[in-house]
């Protein structure tokens, strides 16, 4: 029967034919435009109206923004003599102030180095195919960055490391002999005692013996995007662990712990950030004894971190709540204790669900740092005013906010894209 067809059919395909390209009117840009913009008469009209508006806007805006704008000039008047467009010369001429504030120019290498090292420190956290040993550098980086930016003796950061090591030893010892919670308390106690009584004498003794250090730069010299990054990045990095702890505490069975966490979260969330900043900048001045040198930037960082932590806690609580109860029960059934279950089963899943919310909080925090301009810290928004008040640049209106907005957009956009990449990478599939 195998040759039946050979007798009845004149042609038999011996192999599959290659697919023909789609008809010419359903491919290419023209078809794409037709499908997306002109598929119905209503779409066509709307497309023409919107496209026209965009064209008119660009027609009006581009000459001012791009074609006629001036990038090099000594003052607004010079700009006006050169061309009629935007005077971005203010950005180029005051670029250092917008980026570094009043940081001494001969020391610019320090914040730049800190920024580069920050990228190195973030790398192993953001990409898991890098060697895990790099995490040690990430752990040391905060102190290194502090030392680079503020300068001073190297013994300060080194002694902080010593304090952390000591606190860890205390934790291990007490956790082994009593229990982990008491161990944690012991570690905190060691830290507090160290900072209160031992830190300053030891540091001053060591630095008088061997004086290794960088030229100190005080906080009032910091400004521009440098201060945005210092506050924003510190807040982002510190708020995530604090937020996780608060979220776990809020879901805890221990009534006191739960009450403290709920109270903290609700209190901080119930207060606008600007109020906390005013507390940091003015109210604390009344509480602290005269002559106390409690750095204003540090105060602001603490407030911003507390604020972000409360929001972070709620975001992560959402992630915890979204986990099926079976996950908790399965962890218990495996005989894991609370910390094992949390670390191995609960948090990896809860954090993955929470990524959009976490990054949302990060981006919000990063942008909220501009509120510090209201309490007189000259971040990019704050530093616009003294620049605009100078004789050369008085009369500048749009150019500075455009530049600052652009820089903020770039960094927030990068954060947002990274989070989407991260989500896709971690998508182990609950949806499909």
């Amino acid at each position: 029967m195998s040759d039946t067809h050979a007798e009845t059919v004149r042609y038999v395909a011996t192999h599959e034919l290659p697919a023909l390209p789609a008809p010419v009117n359903t491919r290419g840009p023209a078809a794409w435009a037709r499908a997306n913009f002109f598929s119905t008469p209503r779409d066509t009209i709307l497309s023409i109206i919107v496209g026209g508006l965009i064209a008119i806007g660009l027609w009006k805006l581009l000459p001012w923004l791009v074609f006629d704008s001036v990038f090099v000039a000594g003052s607004l008047n010079e700009c006006r003599e050169i061309d009629s467009g935007a005077c971005f010369a203010v950005v180029t001429s005051r670029f250092n102030q917008l980026i570094f504030g009043f940081y001494p120019p001969e020391l610019f290498w320090r914040p730049i180095l800190a920024f580069v090292l920050m990228l190195v420190a973030f790398a192993p956290v953001l990409h898991d195919n890098l060697p895990r040993k790099m995490l040690w550098f990430s752990a040391v980086f905060p102190l290194l960055a502090y030392w680079l930016i503020w300068g001073g003796t190297i013994w300060g950061p080194l002694m902080i490391i010593a304090m952390i090591a000591l606190a860890f030893v205390a934790f291990k010892a007490v956790a082994k002999s009593v229990n982990p919670v008491v161990g944690l308390l012991a570690a905190v106690a060691v830290g507090i005692l160290w900072m209160l009584f031992l830190h300053d004498p030891i540091v001053s003794a060591l630095s008088s013996a061997v004086n290794v250090g960088l030229e100190p730069v005080e906080s009032s010299k910091l400004g521009g995007f440098q201060i945005t990054f210092i506050i924003g990045v510190t807040g982002i990095v510190a708020s995530l662990p604090i937020g996780i702890l608060l979220a776990l505490g809020r879901g805890s069975d221990m009534p006191t712990l739960k009450m403290i966490c709920v109270g903290f979260i609700e209190f901080i969330r119930g207060v606008p950030l600007i109020t906390l900043l005013f507390v940091a900048s003015t109210l604390l001045n009344y509480f602290l004894p005269p002559g106390t040198n409690f750095d204003i930037v540090l105060r602001v960082i603490i407030m911003v971190t507390l604020f972000a932590s409360a929001y972070m806690a709620e975001v992560i609580r959402g992630g915890l709540a979204a986990l099926p109860k079976g996950q908790y029960e399965a962890a218990d059934a495996l005989g894991l204790n609370y910390w094992q279950a949390t670390r191995l089963i609960i948090l990896p899943q809860a954090l993955k669900i929470s990524i959009p919310g976490i990054v949302n909080t990060f981006i919000g925090l990063f942008k909220d740092t501009v509120l510090v301009s209201i309490i007189g810290i000259l971040d990019p928004i704050g530093i616009m005013q003294p620049i605009r008040s100078s004789a050369e640049w008085n009369g500048i209106i749009w150019e500075l906010p455009i530049f600052v907005g652009l820089v903020f957009f770039i960094f927030c956009f990068l954060m947002s894209r990274y989070s989407m990449y991260f989500e896709r990478k971690l998508d182990t599939g609950h949806r499909n």
Binding site: F102, T282, Y286, S373, S390, G395
Partner: protein
């Protein structure tokens, strides 16, 4: 020594009372130093429960805020000398009055006064000063809490700020007042011709109220165009949304100077309100207030007498005018010592940035971009209000 021991014993007594007393006790009766002391002592005292003391300290903090600074820090001068620099509160930016140059240094009419003060205190070192930019919201707490030693931030002297907020104002260093700016093409030469005009005015300010008062008093009508910020005002005014723009005259000058064609606009001669701007310090330290006051008066006296930054040394050596001799410390009267400073205090203050007239000309005068006439701020001999009490 005797008195200081007595005082500290007394503080401790008061502390115990405050820390453990019911909250109804009026804390306002205690000077602020006690409050601070109390906050750090209370934790150790028996009978005061942490929660209660926390509430109490909050209440005390609130009381301190309500009082907004009754700091009687014993001797600001000693503190300043000990730390080696003057901490000066300035504006975050106001054309001519405070701005940063390309190198990031604070410049302007207000920082210049702080530099003169620093020079008077630190034997001619006009760089022994650090500037704290303050906003309209933080300026008074910054001064009251001791974050800055002196506030030179184009601040209008008013009754409530002097009496209720417990500050001491130095002499007025700039007499400002509300004015009007119009396009020259409008053909108006006096504010009295503005009846029926549309006027851009910042909402929620005394400017708005002054405007209403002025027009009512002169039986004129106007149509307000409410705006929020100076930048918005510039836009609206240039876009012909209003015939006139009203704000403080110094602000009008600065705004006008930033226009592409400033000569198409004019500031009308009428000034309809009083805005005496001056530097200020905390109330309760008369020596410190005197240093501020007499540094400024020395700068004005120097202008009266023709002493400039350039010729001050020479004048000290050669002048036979007894006023100049006393001002520059060429006599043995010891005025500097009476202030707690050295004999060259005024000489150094003048050499820091020049006399009052030089400072004015450098940052605000008609040769600058801001371009303000001396007007009320001329010496009394030129028909202005600058009249320095004699140094003798």
């Amino acid at each position: 020594m005797q008195s200081s021991t007595g005082t500290s014993g007394e503080i401790t007594g008061q502390t115990a009372l405050v820390a453990c007393a019911p909250m109804s006790i009026s804390t306002a009766a205690f000077p602020r130093t006690f409050l601070r002391y109390e906050l750090f002592e209370q934790g150790n005292r028996k009978g005061c429960y942490p929660m209660k003391t926390k509430l109490l300290s909050l209440a005390l903090g609130a009381a301190a805020i309500a009082m907004t600074g009754t700091v009687a820090s014993a001797a600001t001068l000693d503190d300043v000398k000990a730390k080696g620099f003057l901490q000066c509160g300035v504006s975050t930016g106001f054309p001519g009055f405070a701005f940063t140059d390309d190198a990031g240094n604070w410049q302007g009419f207000d920082p210049a006064l702080c530099r003169a003060m620093a020079a008077a205190i630190f034997a001619g070192d006009s760089n022994a000063v650090k500037f704290t930019p303050t906003t309209g919201k933080t300026r008074f707490t910054a001064l009251a809490s001791g974050e800055v030693d002196v506030l030179a931030r184009n601040t209008t002297e008013t009754f409530s700020r002097d009496v209720d907020l417990k500050f001491t104002f130095g002499p007025v260093n700039y007499y400002d007042g509300q004015g009007f700016m119009v396009r020259k093409s409008l053909g108006v030469t006096s504010a009295l011709n503005l009846s029926g005009a549309t006027i851009c005015v910042q909402t929620g300010t005394t400017t708005e109220l002054n405007l209403a008062d002025y027009f009512r008093a002169n039986n004129m009508t106007y149509e307000p165009v409410p705006i929020e910020t100076n930048a918005e005002a510039q836009e609206k005014y240039l876009a012909n949304a209003c015939d006139a723009y009203t704000t403080d005259a110094s602000g009008l000058s600065a705004t006008r100077s930033a226009f592409e064609a400033p000569n198409d606009h004019m500031i009308l001669p009428e000034i309809i309100s009083k805005e005496p701007l001056g530097p200020l310090v905390r109330q309760g330290d008369d020596q410190w207030a005197d240093i501020l006051k007499w540094t400024l008066l020395a700068l004005i006296t120097a202008e009266e007498k023709g002493v400039t930054a350039a010729n001050a040394d020479e004048m000290k050596a050669s002048s036979t005018d007894p006023d100049i001799q006393r001002l520059l410390g060429a006599t043995e009267d010891g005025f500097g010592a009476m202030l707690g400073l050295d004999n060259d205090w005024a000489l150094n203050a003048i050499k820091a940035g020049g006399n009052y007239g030089e400072i004015f000309a450098k940052y605000l005068g008609t040769d600058t971009a801001v371009g303000i006439e001396r007007g009320l701020n001329a010496l009394y001999t030129d028909g202005g209000l600058m009249y320095a009490a004699p140094i003798r």
